[in-house]
Amino acid sequence: MPSNVQRMAPLALSAYTLVTANGRGVVPVLEALRTRRSGLTSCDFEDVALKTHIGRVAGLEDFVLDHELQPFDCRNNRLAWLGLQQDGFPVAVAEAKQRYGAHRIGVIMGTSTSGILETEHAYRERDPQTGRLPGWYTTRYRYTHNMFSLGHFVRTCLGLQGPAMVVSTACSSSAKVFATAARFMQTGLCDAVIVGGVDSLCHTTMYGFSALQLLSADPCRPCDEDRDGLSLGEAAGYALLESGDRRGGRETVALLGYGESTDGYHMSHPHPEGAGAVRAIHDSLARAGIRPEAVEYVNLHGTATKANDSVEDKAVFSVFGARPACSSTKGWTGHTLGAAGITEAIISALCLVHGFIPGTLNCRRVDPSLNSRILRENQVGSLSCIVSNIFGFGGNNCSLVLGKL
């Protein structure tokens, strides 16, 4: 079946923001990348009894969502709210609303577990006689755990009235939101789209990845010969996407291409040859209208599991050879799951704007079986084109090409 991929019109990231374990807003995130300061610490999340490290966002326990936002109050939406306060993002959205109207701006969010932590807490408080869940929970399920909660919340906070949805394809969720947004703008459903992703720590993912024996006891070591699993993290990130023709000057960061695929192989193991990953990367380059040689840096999915890093290396090497610099930034943030796509898209934007590539943190010795050019130390120099890879459960893959207008 021939691929129907056609070159796309670039979409400007006319505003963006990010909160990770490294801090609130792009300034502390950038500072941490430059000074190689990890956000990973020994696990102290609630009463989780697992020996592992986490990339936890500080302060989420110190406030509640109040007034009209009260029904939405949960860890995931608090993190979403914190993200919305940074980097002047609401001002940029308000200006876009003036330009297009609230009905013409879409909200496409990604998350994997939404506010499931509320359901986990509610199950601990079941009535011992009847087994019923507490009232504080049942009236707020819609606003907290339901998969659309994040989309509902962000749309409410920003006062937008265009189409909205939450994409939830495990770890690739908030990379795929860029693809959906591009289609919504191409077909005229929206003039601008707020894309983003928020995922927060919960018992489901901590005990779930532990059950799959994919959690490292130490801070994760992507691409290291002794890597032994991932570290979980949490993050919130957003970008305002507008037509590159209508907005932004020559240096504005833009989405140049996207590629989506599946492995059709296994729910939690990647395809051994990375066939789906290769397809996603190829499609992203075709939409950007560029050849592999134009890519200077590949921000790897690089989770630090044995299988992911090795299969991703095969896929990346088969497309790019050993020419572009490759690195994973999971050593700073941990694997933020449904927020990984937006986290790494915005880190890539920072690399483009500030002209540097973060070397893989915690990678002491690059696994000699990997053939790609894995960077261990930070590198400075101007960049024009980056590919960011995200792969997830269900064999769901997405690659993004980011560059400048």
Partner: protein
Amino acid sequence: MQLGAGETVMRVSIYGIGLLASGLEGWGASREILAGHKPYQHGVVPDPEAIILPPNERRRSSDGVRWAVQVAQEAINQSGLDPRDVPTVFASSGGEMGVFDQLCRVLASEDRRVSPTLFHQSVHNTAAGYWGIATSGQQSSTALSCYDDSFAAGWLEASALVCSEQRPVLLVAYDMVVPSPLDEARPIAEGFAVAIILGPPSDASMATVQTSLEEAAGDDSLCRSERKLEQLRQDNPAARSLSLLCAIAEAVPKTVKLAVLDSQHIMLTIESCRLSTEMN
């Protein structure tokens, strides 16, 4: 395709439909009922065969997976397409609510060890993933939610994909019975799954539908006197598709309105219908 504000129109054709709900076991068996020619009768839905699933995967699968795969297979078979060529969009309000119930019970217990299978089955793209594994498909696949309007959101996503890439797309919408005690938080008493193959407009299709996104809230109820069918439409987010399905079954040009949150709706105008005998 780019039009001015408020004039967005997407045209797609329908090449296959799969359906499973109480009293609606398959599109072929349901068409007369949905067209109002036969009475709607409530009944217990047998566990779908979902024969495309490998036995191992089928044994481990949730109800939602089997229902979604069953309707997807029915729709693909009607279309005559190779499933490996068809990208997918899976829309569900709550996803794997039964799996959440099992997981949260374990996580609330003293020994919190969850089963790795249960964990990977908890993702919103579980049904999409199982379909991909069963068909060895490598096309793109999106799983999404928009609470009660998940079908309309899925329709927009699938139609936008058809229009931007000029290729067929499989849309599946499903929501299953929510088990106790979660049903108090989200009461869904009846399962519902529908699959529709959308593609570029063609005369060789079951129907051609024009979609426009418009301002103001709005949702069409089923105009016929089938109160039980209207009840089903209101009780299960995936069943919001019934107004479209009834209009297609009636095989007359018609426009139906589906809500997109509290501020917009989509107008679906069925331009032409060619429900020939082989599709009965």
